[in-house]
C-alpha cells in the first residue's frame, strides 16, 4: 500500500500517464468489488455456521455440565474424555449411542428407499398428460408444503391407541390386527416414524424427479416405441439412466435430511423416544439438553458430523467415478 502511494505522484508527474492512473485504481476497485459484495454473506456464514461449529468443537473437549453452563468458559478441559465415553461401546453411554446409530441407519435407508420409489413411481405415472393432472400434482405436494409441526401432530392423533384413525381402520374396519396396536410406544413406534417420514419426504422426490423427467426428449420414447420397447423397457433403458444425475443429488439430500431429522421424532414421541425409534438427533439432544451433559453431547455431534462428511465424500467420489465410467 505504501509503495503504491509513493509511486502514484511520480507517475502523475510524467506526461501521458496521468490518465492511466485512475483507470488502474478503477480496475483495482472492480477487482475488489466481488469480494465486497460477498462480504455480507461471508459475515453471516461466519456467524450462523462457523462460529457455533467452532464453539461446539471446543465444548466437546470440555467437561460441561449444569455446574458450568452459566459460564461455560470456566468448565474444566477433559481432553478426549467425551469422545472416549461416546465410542466406548462396552460402557452404557457408548452402547446406547451405538444402538441409536444402528436404528438411525436402518431407518434412514428404508425411508430414503421408500421416498425415492414412491416419488419416482408417482412422477413417471404423472408424466403423460391427462385430465386433472395439475390438481393431482398439487395434492401430491401438500405434505411437503405443510408445516412439520402441524403435520406430525395430526399423525400423533391418528396413531393414538384408543381413538386413533390408524387403529380404527386396521382393527375395527379391516380386522387386520387381533387387538388395537400401540404406535407411539413400544416396538411399533419404528414403523410409525417410518410412515410419517416417508409421507413427509416422498413429495420432494416426486418434485425433483418430475423436473428431471422434463429434460428427457420425447423423441427417445417415440423411437423406442417404434423399435417395439414396452413401458417397462422404456423406464429401464431411457428414464432411469437419464435421471441418474438428478437421482444422485436427490438420494444424497434425502439421506442427509433423514439422517439428521429432529422434528419428526421429537413431535411424535417427545423428549424420550421409545427404544425402537431412538434416532440419533433426539439421542444427542437428550444427552445435551435432558441429562445436561453438554460436553458429551457436543462430542457426539462432532462424531456425527465426521460420519456424515465421510459418507458424503465417499458417495460423491463413487457417483462421480460411476459417471466418468459411463461417460467414457
Amino acid at each position: 500500500m505504501t509503495t503504491t502511494a509513493f509511486k502514484e505522484p511520480v507517475r502523475e508527474a510524467a506526461p501521458g500517464t496521468a490518465k492511466r492512473a485512475p483507470r488502474r485504481t478503477g480496475r483495482i476497485r472492480r477487482a475488489g468489488l466481488p469480494y465486497l459484495l460477498l462480504l455480507p454473506a461471508l459475515v453471516l456464514e461466519l456467524l450462523v455456521h462457523l462460529v457455533p461449529m467452532v464453539i461446539g468443537i471446543v465444548m466437546s473437549f470440555k467437561e460441561l455440565t449444569q455446574f458450568y453452563i452459566r459460564d461455560w468458559g470456566t468448565a474444566p478441559w477433559s481432553g478426549l474424555g467425551n469422545y472416549r465415553v461416546s465410542v466406548d461401546f462396552n460402557a452404557p453411554v457408548g452402547k446406547a449411542l451405538l444402538h441409536s446409530f444402528s436404528v438411525t441407519v436402518a431407518f434412514t435407508l428404508l425411508s430414503v428407499a421408500l421416498c425415492w420409489l414412491t416419488g419416482t413411481a408417482a412422477a413417471v405415472f404423472m408424466q403423460d398428460g391427462f385430465r386433472g393432472r395439475g390438481l393431482l400434482r398439487a395434492l401430491f405436494l401438500v405434505p411437503y408444503a405443510l408445516p412439520v409441526y402441524a403435520a406430525v401432530i395430526t399423525w400423533v392423533f391418528m396413531f393414538q391407541h384408543d381413538n386413533g384413525l390408524v387403529n380404527h381402520v386396521l382393527h375395527d374396519q379391516l380386522h387386520l390386527t387381533g387387538k388395537p396396536s400401540f404406535w407411539l410406544i413400544g416396538d411399533n413406534s419404528f414403523y410409525a416414524l417410518l410412515t410419517v417420514s416417508v409421507w413427509k419426504g416422498w413429495p420432494f422426490a416426486f418434485l425433483i424427479v418430475t423436473a428431471g423427467l422434463q429434460n428427457i426428449p420425447r423423441e427417445l420414447y417415440e423411437a423406442a416405441a417404434l423399435d417395439g420397447a414396452g413401458t417397462w423397457q422404456q423406464i429401464r433403458r431411457i428414464t432411469l439412466p437419464s435421471l441418474r444425475p438428478v437421482n444422485q443429488v436427490l438420494v444424497l439430500v434425502l439421506f442427509l435430511w433423514t439422517f439428521n431429522d429432529f422434528n419428526t421424532p421429537y413431535v411424535l414421541f417427545g423428549k424420550s423416544a421409545p427404544n425402537a425409534a431412538d434416532l440419533i438427533s433426539v439421542h444427542i439432544y437428550q444427552a445435551s439438553f435432558v441429562t445436561w451433559n453438554f460436553g458429551t453431547g457436543s462430542a457426539m455431534s462432532v462424531l456425527l458430523l465426521l460420519f456424515l462428511l465421510l459418507v458424503t465424500a465417499g458417495y460423491l467420489l463413487l457417483t462421480s467415478r460411476g459417471r466418468r465410467a459411463s461417460d467414457g
Binding site: L36, L47, R70, D71, W72, G270, P274
Partner: protein, 438 residues
C-alpha cells in the same frame, strides 16, 4: 483498495464482536443490579386449564402490583413442557426473566447452575421471614445445608379422586385405603363396565411422582445418603414393579393409559368413564371439564397398611411451585418486592383459590376458604404424610431417566410383554447409567 480493506477489517471485527456477544455464556457472572427499576419480566408456569386462564388469573394481580409500586410486570406464561429448557437457555445466555416459576422438584438442580438468587436470611427478612412458610414446602427449595434457591408459591399434594356414582353402582361404600383394597374394588368396578384407575404412562414427571411414593412405602430411596443414584437396589426395583404391576398384573390401570401424557386420564375421570384418579389438586381442572364437585369424593392415596403417616406410610410427594429470582436481574429490589407481593397473605389467598392449590404461607392457609373437605385431605397429607423428592443436583435428570424407564415398562405391559423383576431391574440399570457422572 484501502477503503475496501478498511471495510473488510471493519466487517470482520464487527462479526467477531457480534459472535462473541451472541455466544454470551462467557461472562454471565453478574450479581444483579437496579439498572431498570420500572419493569420486571415474569415467567409464570402454566397452572390453569390453559394459558389464557393463567393470563386471566394473573393479569389483575399484576395490575394491582403496578398501581402500588409503579413497576410494570411483563407476563409470559410458559407451558410445562418448555419451561425447564427455557430456564436452561436463559441460564446459558444470561438473558432471562427477572422472576420465574419453577417446579419445586427442580430447585436443587437449578440451584447447582448458580443462576438463581440465593434466599439468605437477609432476602427472607425482606419478604417477612422464613417462619411464614410451611416446613414441608420449604423442604423443596434447594439442597440441604444451602440457602434456598426459591420461595414456595403454591403447594399441592396427591389425593385419590373417586367417582361416587360408579362406586355406589359397584356396591363399594368407601374409598380404598390400601392397594389390596383398590385391586379388590377394581374387580367390582370392571364388572360394571368402567375402567378402574387412571394413569399417565407417557408423562415422565407423573411416573416419577408415583414411583417415588411407592419407593417410600417400600422403605426405599432412589438416591443413597451421599446423593448418588441407587436405582437398582432390590427394594427400589420392587417398588417400581409394584406400580407398573397395577397395569401389568393387577389390571386396574387400562393398557391404553400407557401412552397418555396430555392429562387424558383426568378427562376420562371427568367424563365418568373411569372410577378413580391419583392426582394433585385436580378440582379446578375437573370443574373446567364440567364435572360437578359433588360427583366425586377425595381420599388419601392408598398405602400398604391403610393408615397414611410419616415414614413408610408416605402417600404423596410434596408437590408445588416455587418462585425464583434470576441472579443477574436488572431490577433486584423490584424482584424482591414482587416476591413479597406474591407471597403476601392477600395474594396467596387469591391465587391459591384460583388454582385450587394450598397456600404454603401458614397465615393464608388458615383462611376458611381452604377448609373444604378436599383441602383438609390435601393439607393433612402435606403436614403428615408427604415427602419431598430428593433435593440433589441431578434431580431433573433423574426425572427424565427413571420416568422414561417407567414409560418403557408401561409400554411393555401394554404390549402384553411380561414385566418381571429382571426386566424392571434392567430398565432401571439403563436409567442409572444415563445419569451424569457427579
Amino acid at each position: 483498495m484501502r477503503r475496501i480493506r478498511a471495510a473488510a477489517t471493519g466487517a470482520v471485527t464487527l462479526s467477531l464482536a457480534l459472535a462473541a456477544t451472541a455466544c454470551g455464556g462467557g461472562s454471565a457472572t453478574g450479581g444483579g443490579s437496579n439498572d431498570s427499576p420500572r419493569t420486571l419480566t415474569y415467567w409464570a408456569s402454566n397452572q390453569g386449564a390453559s394459558i389464557a386462564v393463567d393470563q386471566q388469573v394473573l393479569g389483575p394481580e399484576l395490575d394491582k402490583f403496578q398501581k402500588r409500586t409503579g413497576i410494570k410486570v411483563k407476563l409470559e406464561v410458559v407451558p410445562w413442557s418448555d419451561l425447564l429448557n427455557r430456564i436452561l437457555t436463559a441460564t446459558t445466555s444470561g438473558q432471562g426473566p427477572d422472576v420465574l416459576n419453577i417446579g419445586n422438584t427442580w430447585s436443587a438442580s437449578l440451584q447447582a447452575t448458580g443462576a438463581l438468587l440465593p434466599w439468605d436470611a437477609k432476602n427472607f427478612a425482606a419478604i417477612g421471614g422464613k417462619d411464614r412458610f410451611v416446613g414441608s414446602a420449604l423442604g423443596s427449595t434447594g439442597a440441604q445445608g444451602k440457602d434456598p434457591a426459591a420461595v414456595p408459591l403454591y403447594s399441592m399434594a396427591y389425593a385419590l379422586y373417586y367417582n361416587k356414582k360408579i362406586f355406589a353402582d359397584a356396591g363399594i361404600s368407601q374409598p380404598p385405603a390400601t392397594w389390596d383394597e383398590l385391586v379388590a374394588d377394581g374387580k367390582k368396578i370392571k364388572a360394571g363396565g368402567k375402567s378402574v384407575l387412571g394413569a399417565e404412562g407417557g408423562n415422565l414427571a407423573e411416573n416419577i411422582h408415583h414411583v417415588f411414593v411407592f419407593a417410600k412405602q417400600h422403605g426405599a430411596d432412589f438416591f443413597t445418603a451421599d446423593g448418588k443414584p441407587g436405582f437398582t437396589a432390590p427394594k427400589v426395583v420392587d417398588a417400581v414393579k409394584s406400580y407398573v404391576d397395577l397395569m401389568a398384573k393387577d389390571k386396574v390401570i387400562p393398557t391404553g393409559d400407557a401412552e397418555y401424557a396430555q392429562n387424558q386420564s383426568v378427562s376420562d375421570f371427568a367424563k365418568g368413564k373411569q372410577a378413580m384418579l391419583l392426582w394433585q389438586s385436580a378440582s379446578a381442572n375437573l370443574k373446567s371439564q364440567g364435572m360437578s364437585e359433588d360427583a366425586y369424593g377425595i381420599a388419601p392415596v392408598p398405602v400398604i397398611s391403610g393408615t397414611p403417616g410419616t415414614g413408610t406410610q408416605v402417600d404423596s410427594m410434596v408437590a408445588g411451585i416455587n418462585l425464583a429470582v434470576f441472579k443477574n436481574t436488572h431490577n433486584l429490589d423490584g424482584a424482591t418486592t414482587f416476591v413479597k407481593f406474591m407471597t403476601s397473605d392477600e395474594e396467596q389467598k387469591i391465587l391459591n383459590k384460583a388454582y385450587s392449590t394450598i397456600p404454603p404461607v401458614k397465615s393464608a392457609q388458615t383462611d376458611p376458604a381452604f377448609g373444604t373437605p378436599a383441602d383438609a385431605v390435601l393439607k393433612n397429607t402435606l403436614a403428615t404424610s408427604a415427602a419431598a423428592l430428593p433435593q440433589v443436583a441431578s434431580e431433573s435428570q433423574f426425572e427424565t431417566a427413571v420416568g422414561t424407564a417407567v414409560k418403557d415398562l408401561f409400554a411393555d405391559a401394554a404390549a402384553g410383554h411380561a414385566v418381571t423383576t429382571d426386566s424392571v431391574k434392567a430398565a432401571l440399570e439403563k436409567a442409572q447409567q444415563q445419569m451424569p457422572a457427579a
